[in-house]
């Protein structure tokens, strides 16, 4: 990944990866974000953010509350049109497309097929008044799955993969614990085999005891499915365990980016140094 950032000259940005990509990158790029900027009135959400993601890359975006992490995630994931900049995705059939120049129905189809979005609160990502199985199967039906048996089989399979008891396929998600609901949300997202998944603080609402298993699950899934992921988190330990790449945001801008272990172990920007040194050691 090559995260550049066109900040004004007075704002130093440390780019750990200095040389341009040598590989013939164009074909492999999955997502390219250039100059994405979003304002809410006078207040900046995120300013001039660039990033590039390839298949299987896991990127964490960290920073304190209000630093623009979620705003950026919303812009990148097609949920909130940026005021400036482009978000390009390498679609399966039509190559690289600017997602905000696609028609609304096509962007939605993209979001349902090639992308997943895991909300911090599983209830925002689940339909709480239909069964667990229907929550997973719905995504398949939304892209044209009509064979009940096949949908049921796929749902079964995915409940197993996220370590949910498939015997509870007909139970309502409200009867699930928070950790189970989060895993159900992940199954619902992955059943259509997306290539990119967005996650907003996926473990923040969970007990510490459940977080670890979910982290391991996510790590296994991204590795085995070559799934790219963008994870917003304020938890640097989550970033270290899950992400290859880490971007630190402050006041809407990317202040530092690089390999996760570089940014955490050899932070260059004053803000990153402060952030890293402020973490409580458990």
């Amino acid at each position: 990944m090559d995260i550049a950032s066109g900040l004004p000259p007075d704002t130093p940005v440390w780019r750990h990866a200095a040389t341009p990509c040598l590989e013939p990158a164009a074909a492999e790029v999955l997502l390219r974000v250039s100059g994405v900027t979003k304002y809410f009135g006078q207040r900046a959400g995120c300013i001039d953010v660039d990033l590039e993601l390839h298949a299987g890359d896991v990127l964490a975006i960290a920073g304190e509350s209000g630093s623009g992490k979620t705003t950026l995630l919303n812009c990148i994931s097609g949920r909130s049109q940026p005021d400036a900049g482009t978000v390009e995705f390498n679609t399966r059939h039509e190559g690289i497309q600017d997602i905000y120049r696609l028609s609304e129905p096509r962007r939605r189809l993209l979001a349902r097929t090639d992308w997943g979005y895991v909300h911090q609160n599983p209830r925002d990502g689940l339909r709480i008044n239909v069964s667990a199985g229907a929550n997973v199967g719905e995504r398949l039906m939304a892209i044209g799955g009509r064979h009940y048996g096949n949908i049921r089989t796929a749902t079964h399979d995915w409940m197993n993969r996220v370590e949910l008891d498939a015997g509870r396929i007909d139970d309502m998600p409200v009867t699930f614990s928070g950790g189970m609901q989060q895993r159900l949300q992940i199954a619902r997202n992955l059943v259509t085999h997306p290539r990119l998944i967005f996650m907003d603080e996926p473990t923040a609402s969970l007990d510490v005891s459940v977080q670890a298993r979910l982290l391991d699950l996510l790590r296994g899934l991204t590795r085995d499915l070559s799934l790219a992921a963008i994870i917003v988190t304020h938890d640097l330990a989550v970033a270290r365990l899950l992400a290859h790449h880490l971007m630190i945001m402050k006041d809407g801008r990317v202040v530092e980016s690089g390999l996760t272990d570089q940014v955490l172990d050899d932070p260059q920007h004053p803000y990153t140094q402060l952030l890293v040194s402020s973490v409580l050691q458990a």
Partner: protein, 241 residues
Amino acid sequence: MDNTALPRNTPTMLRIRDLHKTFTLHHQHGAVLPVLAGIDLEVNAGECVVLHGASGAGKSTLLRSIYANYRAQRGSIEVRHAGLWLDMATANARQLLEVRRITMGYVSQFLRVIPRISTLDIVAEPLLAAGVPAADAKSRAGQLLSRLNIPEKLWLLPPATFSGGEQQRVNIARGFIRRFPVLLLDEPTAALDAANRATVAELIEEARASGAAIVGIFHDEEVRQLVASRLYAMQALKVAA
């Protein structure tokens, strides 16, 4: 130091030129700590170079710089990767990940893993990441754990509750489960008893004999004697006021 007679037909795997590393601590009144200056080092296949110097001489910093965990200010750290020289100091993130996946392994003193994952899975993971089937990866992990005297009854437990020495051996098993052409060892024997130290020395010797280029830090004199092909002396730099 660099010019000891080297065996023939052993290609240079690692080539460090004029390496400088300085830390700037923005929240300590912008204190600047120069740790490495003008480091030159070459390591050939089949060699184990032991970094030697007092605490604070920059041994770990050098090792971490080679792994590109720390970024160099100046100089080059070239590694022979996929038949070509690649400078770790300027390579991009994708290249660095590839080098770490294929060419360069790093064994630290500490085990840093997701909690509640079984020991066997932790050790097998580097093989899984390299695409080895799960059954093979786990059987290989089991062999290494046995060799490092981790009793089988512990394999399915997460290592969080293990003793320091046991955790370190799990870490070593994880570090040695793949054969890397370049291997960096940061005090892998620090918390081990004599028998286990000897086993680790054997593992290192096997890796070296099979052609790995190894750079390591060993405080234990006995292990150093056992594994070192040569020493590379390092001295602490003066801190500018």
